[in-house]
């Protein structure tokens, strides 16, 4: 009894601490790939396509999380830039199991704003499309940029 007393008391105190959750992880299943692009011809990758960015988030089922993107304005190569745009509906989120990219449960989200949603039994899938606009005299070559996705539990 005496040995268990500290644990009981500590557990009681712990009731006032944030709920203990499993840590969430973010992984990328697919990169956002525009493939070959022609000078002067804008190219769009829609969020429902195989070329869209796909993130897989795992963690505690039914826990609420926020998603925050850090998005680039340009793709770059040595000596050249190319504008990249993301519209206010270029992101989709789905918590169903299995996930449905063609008809996600939380569709047309703005990737420039914080997105709040709950993890499902299989976590979350997040898809992101975008558009690049090469100039008429765009320098030939391979361009790239990075997207950062931050996922945070809200505690709700």
């Amino acid at each position: 009894m005496r040995k268990t007393a500290p644990i009981v008391i500590a557990a009681t105190l712990a009731l006032f601490l944030p709920s203990v959750c499993l840590g969430q992880t973010v992984a990328s299943t697919e990169s956002l790939a525009f493939g070959d692009v022609f000078p002067g011809v804008p190219k769009t990758v829609v969020k429902t396509s195989a070329s869209a960015a796909e993130f897989t988030i795992t963690g505690t089922a039914d826990a609420e999380v926020t998603l925050d993107f850090d998005l680039p304005s340009y793709l770059s190569t040595t000596g050249g830039n190319m504008p990249v745009f993301f519209s206010s509906t270029d992101c989709a989120v789905d918590s169903t199991n299995p996930p449905n990219q063609g008809s996600p449960s939380y569709n047309n989200q703005n990737p420039y704003q914080t997105i709040t949603y709950r993890l499902g039994s299989a976590g979350l899938k997040v898809w992101l499309g975008g558009q690049i606009v090469p100039g008429l005299a765009q320098k030939a070559g391979s361009y790239n940029a990075t997207i950062r996705l931050t996922v945070t539990y809200t505690g709700n």
Partner: protein, 187 residues
């Protein structure tokens, strides 16, 4: 007796503090966020470049005469020709903006010109020298889809036409501009 109680009490408190701090650390760790950095990629094909190889010139092989129409075909010394370079095997569209008249150097006198539906020539073999190719006749107002050919990544386009000086045409040099625009279909 009091001292024993105090020691026990201190031990209990210290254990509670250790366990509680431990739980707090765990809780702190699991609410930390997670980040992932992903790459966006795209490969830009070579930009289209149009160069004039030689101008369409009705005076090659002899000047124009008043009241005598003169035509230049797509395989003659006076044929105009352009070279378009870009990415091999990609489809492009090209469009001519053709003049209706040649003008003298002060813009007061003019010579009528016209272009028939076979006055353009197209070569998709990738040959970089337009003088060495056999052009296929095409409509200069509808060149259609052109596929950039071969290792030299070129499309050759020729332009002929007919000039019709009037019976009272004033002598002199007459010129006009032909504009050729090309763009990728994007497929």
């Amino acid at each position: 007796m009091k001292a024993v109680m105090n020691r026990k009490g201190l031990r209990l408190v210290s254990k509670v503090v250790v366990v509680t701090v431990g739980l707090m650390l765990i809780a702190g760790a699991v609410v930390a966020n997670d980040q992932f950095v992903m790459t966006i990629t795209g490969t830009v094909r070579a930009a289209l470049v149009i160069t004039q190889f030689q101008p369409l010139d009705w005076s090659v092989g002899g000047d124009l005469y008043m009241g005598v129409a003169k035509s230049v075909g797509i395989d003659e010394a006076g044929t105009g020709s352009f070279i378009i370079t870009g990415a091999a095997n990609d489809n492009i569209q090209a469009m001519f903006l053709l003049p209706e008249y040649l003008w003298d150097n002060v813009g007061k006198q003019r010579v009528d010109v016209y272009f028939t539906s076979t006055d353009a020539g197209i070569d998709l073999t990738g040959q970089p020298d337009p003088t060495l190719v056999a052009f296929a006749a095409a409509d200069p107002r509808d060149l259609g889809t052109l596929t950039i050919g071969g290792a030299q990544t070129t499309v050759n386009i020729a332009l002929g036409g007919t000039a019709m000086p009037s019976a009272g045409q004033k002598a002199g040099t007459y010129t006009a501009s032909v504009v050729l625009t090309a763009w990728y279909e994007g497929t």
